[in-house]
Point group: D2
């Protein structure tokens, strides 16, 4: 993988880059990578690494302040890339990640994400919201985000929606697709195409429930904790690598409707956190797991 | 249900009773019950009630300060009991509940419970610990609690253990049996006999995992929250009415062994809380759910 | 205190009322109150009570389903009100509480409150937002809430703002004033006039910090928990009765700016919760403390 | 600072070391340190670093698996130590840290620490408990830990106690002193001598309270969160660098006594966590703050 956004700054400027590296574990990787950073006069301002006992792979995330351009840093890294077979990625710290939101009728996740973007707390830009219901149009309009409504009902409706997703991804050079309560199962093909860059959110309980009407089931069992899981989308429904989970306490007095309201709150917060970490290049895939350098 | 421990105090004393009432919901129950309390010169110091939309049953828990004896309170309540078909229970606030612990090799839950008892934070007395391994003997000895070791291996081992449980329950007039990581499945017959007075603790995850080695599975999926569920034991394994659930956050750096250590901590705290609420008559069964008046 | 909104429904309808009662503690109060409820054919659907050891006062909150009108319930309660000197209040469950928001430049609390109102999760209506800066105008407009901008700078600016508050409270029959990051200290006179119906939110830390720039101080001390406190406003700055507190974990890597972003999130959630409980008549004053029947 | 425990293993063995480095921030440090690790055939298994914007200092913690001895690693690091003026420390991962407990009458923290040690979850060994009351003797005995009782009352009592502390620190080569509810203020001299290796635990509230009987004050103000702070001891009472903080939710129904029981629970957990991180060399001082590489 090469630099996402090569830039050619004037020499006087200082840049801050985030560099992520994934490779088979071996001695000397950090020494080689930091050698390249020394070479371009860089200073490491944040560093996290992880050696996976599961996959024997090595994960590194660095933030580097340097007068060099991304291209120069890239060149300095080339020997290490060659020697260790590094998958790597260089990006500017804080660069807004181009994000496509897919929605339906629920507004809580989209409202939270757009508010966080507008507040400057979420390094994301949203060039488009696609939804299979018109509900989100007003909210999108308020935040000045283009909105398209494409029903998924009728023969070929879902396939047409997915084609529009593909087109939008290409058109806007989308880096992240967020299923913000889109409520439709993506086709295995689209899951495959968006692997590692599509995040979904769903409710979670202790213990788990399968099937329809989970809040009603949770009520029937009298669960005491309502949670949400944000995960990468895979063709294995709701079983992709987990990025973030959060829970809130409830008790027997809560109706299924109230459990749902609490669930929506925890969904919005959990999704927001997962998107933030992704946008900061803090989420790396380790087989069926994620490494989250928070 | 009648008074658990009728007492005949001298008239000058003041008592504090906890009164729990369960019945089909109907208008006038609280008025009738509080009328009985007025009759014996009682003052309500704590009150919680719940009308179950699920079962249409009514749940009431009162704490009452009164110069009257339990027998006198019982008598005053008799008309209401008759009229509304009340299942009720009178107990002294703070009376230690006679509790039998069943254990195996794990010490974390038993250590926590006995320490809390000794610190005076848990209104429980433990006349006996039964275990199918000798591990807990020293700990029991330190706290001055009688301990018996009865292996469950070999033909008839488990049945003999359960017979000893039955005997101990009768002998010590046991009110609560706690499976403090006993790790054996109770026979359906014993589950039935101990219905509503036997609490188990087990690990819980978002999402749930079935089968062996759950911490290894949780590690493989990269879960971010480790939890525990304390529940009443029923013959439906690990599916009894939930009393309490707690969770702790973890991340990708934790090994399966560390997840287990964290899981043990959350198990101990969750079980302790469930036992405390039970001992304070705060846990009532509402079909497959519990009402917890915490 | 008498009924807030007497209504005269047709006899066939069923109403659900919330009844709150405060008085000096004495035997027989619950019996008398529930007697009145039996008299109007009412059924208690939720009940919480508390006897304060601090003030020797008694607090009761009931939800009652009845075919009777508020006026009829009021009449039935009259003997108990007389006998026990009850301060009481009858309201319809779920009736939106008329709430005036005071704001300044920060948007996070107002956005959260208005979104929750619109989602139907917060039983509140907002007839007006008053602010000493124009920042909130767009947000108010999106949610269709009237907005007025009144600068507090210049001689007499603050007094004029407070007079407009008084006027708005009268005009819209305001039941709750929320300082949603208004950032101005109210005059002692206005604090007095709004006693028990004006809620403020501020950041809180372990341990506490006084003075300017608290997030910078929190950073300098390396605090690990960022919190917020929602409280009733009194003339004793930031020391009014606490309604709700919430915390979030942070670590040494967070900059003062990031601490502030996290602080804003916890402020919004804490304020929302306090407003929800107030709007549901769950918050009662007990001297310098609150009783929160959540 | 040099290696804490130099060892001379047979060449066939593999060791895992934790290496911590503190110095003025400069480019090239990580490259130089990792170069030394490559030189001894080491592999980095865990890495955390932090550049403090407050002090312009650089903090690094590495875990390294290597066939080399600590002495060999030390030698390989010498040029980097010289060049960057590194304060560094090499230790074996998992080596139990020699810890002196100071106690008084409260048992909750000592019970929790000793149980965790015995369970193998806390890499600590306790050669001695010193206390100014005899209460802890039985608990110490159960865990096989030597115990000394030295009253601090009477003229010179406190000075004598502190002299015994100094002596014990020397005698057992103590690396960490834990004030496990010792409840006495250490003299400024002793604070100075134990700087950076003495941890205290105290209750914390939102907002904070000074003075006696804090749980009574917390009750009077109706706080909703009870917390604890574990910090390094300095002569500025209860104001040393914070290592860990934890909170638990409470409500108006809790008596001051119950708040205290909850507070004890959160104290024990918070102290245990701080001790664990210290014992794993995860806590580094950054001026008045700590860097905690958890």
């Amino acid at each position: 993988m090469s630099s996402a956004t090569p830039t050619s700054p004037s020499p006087a400027e200082t840049h801050e880059y985030v560099l992520t590296v994934v490779c088979a574990d071996a001695p000397g990787i950090v020494h080689a990578v930091t050698g390249a950073i020394v070479e371009v006069g860089g200073n490491i301002t944040e560093s996290r690494q992880f050696e996976s006992g599961t996959t024997q792979r090595f994960y590194l995330r660095l933030q580097v302040r340097t007068p060099a351009s991304a291209t120069e840093l890239e060149a300095a890294l080339a020997p290490a890339v060659e020697r260790f077979g590094l998958e790597h990625r260089i990006d500017e710290v804080g660069r807004p990640v181009r994000t496509l939101l897919l929605g339906s009728t629920a507004t809580h996740c989209v409202n939270d994400l757009l508010f966080q973007v507008e507040s400057g707390h979420l390094p994301v830009q949203v060039p488009l919201i696609l939804a299979n219901h018109p509900t989100l149009e007003r909210l999108a309009g308020f935040h000045g985000v283009p909105f398209e409504h494409l029903p998924t009902t009728g023969p070929g409706g879902k396939a047409a929606f997915e084609d529009r997703v593909r087109q939008a991804v290409a058109e806007h050079d989308i880096e992240l697709v967020v299923l913000a309560r889109y409520m439709q199962i993506l086709s295995p093909e689209l899951c495959e195409e968006l692997a590692g860059r599509c995040i979904n959110i769903h409710h979670s309980f202790l213990p788990g429930f399968k099937g329809a009407n989970p809040y009603r089931q949770a009520h029937a069992r009298g669960v005491k904790q309502i949670g949400a899981t944000a995960h990468f989308v895979t063709s294995d429904l709701d079983e992709g690598p987990i990025i973030e989970q959060e829970v809130l306490r409830v008790d027997h007095t809560r109706s299924p409707q109230e459990l749902m309201a609490i669930g929506q709150d925890v969904e919005a917060r959990t999704l927001r956190q997962a998107v933030a970490w992704f946008a900061q290049s803090r989420v790396l895939l380790d087989g069926a797991r994620t490494v989250v350098f928070r």
